[in-house]
């Protein structure tokens, strides 16, 4: 009896272990990151490229494969709205169909796991050939060799198609490291025209100064509805207050050469006072109803005015259609009403080629085809995102202005004319500095004195500069 049980047990354990060993061999792996039979220094002409960006042969740097060799590339895209995900899939499939020699394998990675997945892959040498990257990360990544320069991999013409300020986002001292896909201003004011009217305010005259904003907020706050919603936690304020930092003080909390904090000035004092008053006056909920990037509470009618990014237009048009005629859109108010001062930063995403990619040329080809090629591809993107995102390319904007849907959109027009021209680039220094400043704002909101909060921010920022040896390391300086 015992013998039998013993045998059964041993058998079971052995089976389980064997099964695991077998399983380690099975499981298809079609991530073709390993270098297939590529002849490295073959200068043969580039494979068939029926795209707008021709003349790639001239830019051939000898890394291309012999024509006819199939190359498989990994492309990781950050997960955004479902419409964006669908757009990526659609056009990647299209590319794969029309390019026999280059096959792109698209993986959409949820934001929760992006950092771990990417960094682990980089550590193990298995980073994807192509990936999405936000503008703020480009210069630091370039400095560390994580992404490749694109000047020699792509037709120079595609870079000339970009607006001047956008060129700056994707280049470091003249060398291009990324190709931009979209720009979206980080702060826009959304307001309820019907609630304005009910409160005796002119729905065609949204507030233009901070004082007006706070004043309107008081008039609009009533039972069940808050006057204003904006960022109120350090995590949200970290990036969403950049625009207002420029607006109030004309610069960021650290000097241009990153050698010390630049916090002690009236502009920032006014900034902290603005947030402090907004929070303490009761026009804002004491606990954020959603993240800054998510304007759902406004769509649900819980707040009368909401400050959020331009992408929220997409949210309203997709999910809150019945509210659309009640929504007004305006630039974020400026400290003194001067609307030529920046109130937002221009965030956005681009595609980059990994520093260690063995198929840089093919990767660049895909990026060129997708983002810098036929304007219709990008117009498709902007349409499905309900014109809540904006193009960095002159040619695409020209084409869109011919489009009846696009050219008749008042919100698009407003943002393109009144917000984007004045918006600034996102800072590229370590996020710790932004968080230190944001913590100062949050502590002022929650009761700390403005002076004390700024003093702490100054100390913290100087600490960060010292610990990370930041002085003089600004790649763009």
């Amino acid at each position: 009896m015992q013998e039998r049980k013993g045998k059964v047990y041993s058998l079971a354990v052995t089976t389980l272990l064997t099964l695991s060993m077998v399983l380690s061999a099975c499981g298809s792996s079609n991530s073709g990151n390993d270098n297939s039979a590529g002849s490295p220094n073959n200068n043969a002409a580039n494979s068939a490229e029926p795209t707008v960006s021709a003349d790639n042969a001239a830019a051939n740097d000898g890394k291309s494969e012999v024509p006819g060799e199939k190359v498989s590339l990994e492309f990781w895209a950050n997960k955004f709205e479902p419409t964006t995900d669908a757009w990526f899939k659609k056009w990647t499939d299209e590319f794969n169909k029309t390019h026999e020699n280059i096959q792109i394998k698209l993986t959409i990675v949820p934001g929760d796991a992006w950092a771990q997945k990417l960094k682990a892959a980089q550590a193990a040498g298995k980073a994807p050939d192509i990936m999405t990257m936000s503008y703020g990360n480009i210069a630091p990544a370039a400095k560390l060799g994580q992404i490749q320069p694109l000047n020699d991999l792509m037709d120079p013409g595609v870079f000339n198609d970009l607006y001047d300020n956008v060129k700056d986002f994707v280049s470091v001292k003249g060398t291009y490291y990324a190709y931009p896909k979209l720009v979206e201003p980080s702060a826009v004011l959304y307001y309820r025209k019907d609630l304005f009217q009910a409160a005796g305010l002119d729905p065609e005259k949204p507030p233009v100064t901070w004082d007006e904003l706070l004043d309107y907020g008081k008039k609009l706050t009533q039972k069940g509805i808050f006057g204003l919603a904006t960022a109120q936690t350090a995590a949200d304020l970290g990036w969403s207050s950049w625009g207002l930092q420029f607006n109030s003080a004309g610069h960021l909390p650290v000097t241009d050469d990153w050698s010390k904090a630049d916090v002690d000035n009236d502009g920032f004092r006014a900034l902290l006072n603005f947030y402090k008053t907004a929070y303490e006056s009761g026009i804002m909920p004491k606990q954020a109803l959603s993240a800054y990037a998510d304007a759902t509470p406004f769509g649900q009618g819980k707040v009368a005015m909401e400050i959020s990014g331009s992408w929220s237009i997409g949210l309203f048009r997709n999910d809150f259609k019945n509210m659309l005629d009640k929504i007004g859109v305006a630039p974020m108010p400026s400290i003194d009403g001067d609307q030529t001062k920046p109130t937002a930063t221009l965030g956005g995403w681009s595609l980059v080629v990994d520093g260690k990619s063995k198929h840089a040329k093919e990767a660049a080809d895909y990026i060129s085809w997708l983002l810098a090629g036929d304007p219709q591809i990008m117009i498709d993107y902007f349409k499905t995102s309900q014109f809540s995102k904006f193009s960095p390319r002159k040619s695409v904007d020209e084409a869109m202005n011919q489009d009846p849907q696009a050219s008749s959109d008042p919100w698009r027009k407003l943002i393109a004319e009144k917000v984007i021209p004045y918006a600034k680039a996102e800072p590229i220094y370590t996020y710790d500095i932004s968080l230190a400043f944001a913590t100062a704002i949050e502590s002022a909101m929650k009761g700390e004195s403005v002076d004390k909060a700024l003093q702490k921010a100054e100390k913290d920022i100087n600490d960060i500069v010292a610990k990370q040896n930041l002085a003089g390391t600004n790649p763009k300086n």
Binding site: Q2, A25, N30, G111, Q116, K117, A123, L315
Partner: protein, 283 residues
Amino acid sequence: MTVKKGATAMKLKAQWNSVWLNVFGILIACAALFPLVWMFIAGFKEKTEVLATPFKFLPDRWLITNYTGILEDADFIRSMLLTLGGAVLFALLSLAINSMGAYVFARLEFRFKRFMWLYVIMSMFIPGMAILLTSFIVVTKLHMLDTLAVLILPGVASAGHMFFIRQFYLNVPIALEEAARIDGATRFRIFLSVFVPMSYPVFVIVGIGSYLGYWNSFVWPTMTITNTHLFQIMQYLATFRSERGSEMGLLMAGSALAAVPTILLFLLTQKYIMRGIKISGLK
């Protein structure tokens, strides 16, 4: 006379206590189940309704599209079955490996025992975050990416579980083994014939713990599995969450459905759990 009255009184008291206990138990169960029920019902709601004000428990319109959409999705079904299989395999393997270790440390004497014990126990405190990157490098070098092994092998040996089983084995009376020892059984035989059969309650707990650990893992699968055919269930559900918000209705429906096989599994094994615990209680 008094003895009889006393006995009846005690019986009544016992019954009354039992009623109260049962009521309490049900309340506890409700508190634990409430969020699950809410999640299940939220699956019928439209995306923006899930977190709407004012708080509404039941949806305005009962949409079955979330549920039907997911059930028709072959990827979801495959992911769920795959995760279920993986979790069961993981649990069984974990029991086998960790119970052997537990027995060795509870009952056997051998050279370097103290050192081995410290070696194994120290590993319990190594935080996952510290070795996230480096263990990924290790499994990459071993070509384990995109296989089931990478999800099972790294976590299956657990000092914590081993420690737990050992605590129970320490309490097993020596007398039980003496008989077998006198019969000339080897240590391994004693393990199989004496310890394993009576490990039911402990095995149930470690089994459930291991199963749930595998079932809920999300970060590691996302890092190591890119082949969508091998996606684990939490990894799959994460595709409903994005930078800007979540597909609430789908997410809730998906989570509710994903919980079903596990609940069924637990209900089905209740019999063995009960039996196991009863047996041990009678000792």
